[in-house]
């Protein structure tokens, strides 16, 4: 299992959660980014509100863009944010 994982938030995800980051213990049985999001939403209604529309979320594991089905493996940092809008 991945053990401890830092989660960092950006843009409106950060604003709506009201904090820039969390550190969580990844529970047994949670192996993917999407699985972890499901788990967080079950734990805490504040996540559920912000993560309600998954189609509006993007993810990076250890600073690499990934899809929700990506394996957490031994990643140290998960980032959750809206679609990027730079340039």
């Amino acid at each position: 299992m991945a053990g401890e994982l830092d989660i960092v938030y950006f843009a409106w995800v950060k604003e709506r959660l009201g904090r820039p980051e969390d550190r969580i213990a990844v529970p047994d049985g949670v192996s993917t980014v999407g699985g972890l999001i499901d788990y967080l939403c079950q734990q805490d209604a504040s996540y559920d509100q912000v993560f309600a529309d998954r189609s509006r979320l993007r993810f990076a594991l250890d600073q690499q863009l990934v899809h929700a089905d990506a394996k957490l493996d031994n990643s140290r940092e998960l980032a959750i944010f809206p679609p990027v809008t730079g340039g």
Partner: protein
């Protein structure tokens, strides 16, 4: 030569273009993006993911350098609070021929808009704030490069 910069500071696009020109080659292309003066817009706030941003831009530049024969690539992107008409981004490419320079510059901007971790918030005169939404036209433009060049 690849130069990447992410900073709150403004940049001198003329000087940056000159640096690419000085590398030789017959063609220099550049794109500068600035804050568009939409009605009632006061400022943009640009947020980014510091641990990821520079590497994401470098990967885009490396991809461009593989696709085209380039002498140099410069990507500069600003973050923080920017006023109307402030410069946001500069992409400059140098090559022996114009097609390579122009295509590489366009490719880098299309990729930057869809994979580099920046987010824009618009600040309006009435004090309200809105996060900019992604545009389908940007996704389409980035997707068009797949399998090309």
């Amino acid at each position: 030569m690849i130069t990447i910069s992410v900073s709150q500071k403004d940049f001198d696009s003329g000087a940056e273009i000159r640096k690419i020109a000085d590398l030789g080659g017959g063609a220099v292309a550049s794109f500068t993006g600035q804050v568009r003066g939409d009605a009632d817009l006061v400022a943009l706030e640009l947020e980014h993911y510091p641990a990821m941003t520079e590497q994401a831009l470098r990967t885009i530049a490396d991809d461009a350098a593989e696709k085209w024969a380039l002498h140099g690539i410069t990507i500069i992107h600003r973050v923080g609070r920017l006023q109307v008409n402030d410069q946001i981004v500069l992409v400059c490419t140098g090559s022996d021929h114009r097609q390579a320079a122009i295509s590489a510059c366009s490719f880098i901007m299309d990729k930057l808009k869809t994979v580099a971790p920046f987010w824009k918030k618009e600040i309006w005169k009435d004090g309200s704030e809105t996060w900019v939404e992604e545009r389908q036209s940007d996704l389409d433009a980035a997707a068009e490069w797949k399998g090309r060049a």
